[in-house]
Symmetry: C2
Subunit: 242 residues, 2 copies
DNA sequence: TAAATAGTGTCTCTTAGACAATATTAT
DNA sequence: ATAATATTGTCTAAGAGACACTATTTA
């Protein structure tokens, strides 16, 4: 190491000018899914400004210089839609040169799931006049390349349900096994055998019985389940590594 | 849509000033693996400038405003190390606020594999005085958070070999099944049963026999295999979606 | 008792893993 | 012949998928 520089490897001369390169803008965008009305739904906001004025878009915005990417994602989601307490993971970074007509924009997309009970408290924010849920089966025209981001997020969700037992992230705190099966069937787009589904889900150990039942229907009540704390911790640990 | 704006949704007023937000710097970094000398090796470059002067780092650099992220990754790899023709996929985006002491830097990390035959033509570039291969088993101290990026890339590689048959991406164009098994054993860190390994790999259909044998050893020569074109296309298709 | 959904068990087939002997080549 | 690596098959256990009937509740 050069003796002119302090021994701290992170030393930077005070004369350093960080402005010597062209810099792109960096945004985070969050694809938030919920299961409502027996459908897979996604939260979109309506753009008030050009470009794509009036088009619907994935909530997101520019990062701030002092927050991590994940913090940015949670902040934007809160500001634009009022939603908090979501399951969040990084999805993919989109950075084609022409994806935003204003200037070069790199977008770090996040993938988020919210329980049906949390999904109620949705409101529009400042940047977005409106925020509302859309069924994945009938989406409006989307701004920028957001349809591509959304399709990729949908694929990630399918993958997640196919290979993990985390479908309960889209349900309220307690739920019946039939309700959970309905989530899997809608997301995966296929019918599942009830006995095989129950055997498989229960064998993972992520669920536990409660003492309660889903009452009020003109037929036999179904037992309510909840997920074990260990289930989420395990998944968080799997992703925490990077 | 407002009648003041042209009907093109991508319309941007000519008075738009893109400089009104603070912007982070954006870099791409490429973790390039190869299998050399019966070891998993990674290509690193030595930093000529502060911070972390003299430390080894993953090759990478600032993106240019007119190229895609993937193009940036390939360009940086070529400039700093002379390597071309690699298998490339996006790994993860690292963006903690303090990861670079100079200024806020978002780094989009890529994961790359190169065949042992391609891996020879390594040279240092302008930004990096030296470029050389390091065994993953004995790494030098790394600049920034590059050890974390590297560990994550290593995990991705293990995952890839565990769940796909793409280990041949680390080998030259033709190879014996024993050589391929050695790659899997080193990367996964465990011994594999020869019969089970061959059965499993051959059942995927990604390999085909050639007429040639590995000659010159004082024992029975081993048949050489190559991967089928369909194998790579399938994997590319799986990743092309986003 | 009729209607509606909840809840349960077995068989089969496929796949993954443990395991050892023979084949071929150069020296 | 010896040394060295290449090549091949079977058994078993576990998991995945196909498949139908009984149980419980309300109206």
């Amino acid at each position: 190491m050069n003796s002119d520089t302090p021994s701290d490897p992170r030393y930077v001369p005070s004369t350093y000018d960080p402005g010597s390169f062209d810099r792109p803008s960096v945004t985070v965008d969050v694809v938030l899914f919920a299961f409502r009305d027996q459908q897979l739904q996604v939260l979109l906001v309506r753009r008030r400004n050009w470009p794509y004025q009036g088009y619907w878009a994935i909530p997101g915005g520019f990062i701030q210089m002092d927050e991590s990417l994940e913090q940015s994602a949670l902040r934007e989601l809160q500001e634009e839609t009022g939603v908090e307490d979501v399951y969040l993971e990084q999805l993919y970074t989109f950075g084609e040169a022409e994806r935003d007509p204003r200037t070069r924009v790199i977008s770090i997309a996040y993938f988020a799931l919210v329980g049906a009970d949390q999904a109620l408290q949705v409101r529009g924010g400042d940047d977005a006049a409106e925020a509302r849920w859309w069924s994945m089966a009938s989406l409006p025209p989307l701004a920028f390349d957001h349809d591509r981001i959304l399709r990729y997020a949908h694929q990630r969700l399918r993958w997640k349900l196919e290979y993990t037992a985390l479908g309960f992230l889209l349900l309220p705190e307690t739920f019946t096994l039939s309700e959970l099966q309905a989530v899997y069937q809608v997301v995966l787009g296929e019918q599942l055998d009830k006995r095989n589904f129950r055997r498989k889900i229960l064998s993972t150990g992520v669920l536990e019985e409660t003492d309660a039942y889903r009452e009020g229907s003109p037929h036999r009540p179904a037992r309510l389940y909840r997920f074990t704390a260990a289930a989420i911790e395990l998944e968080q640990a799997r992703r925490r590594f990077p």
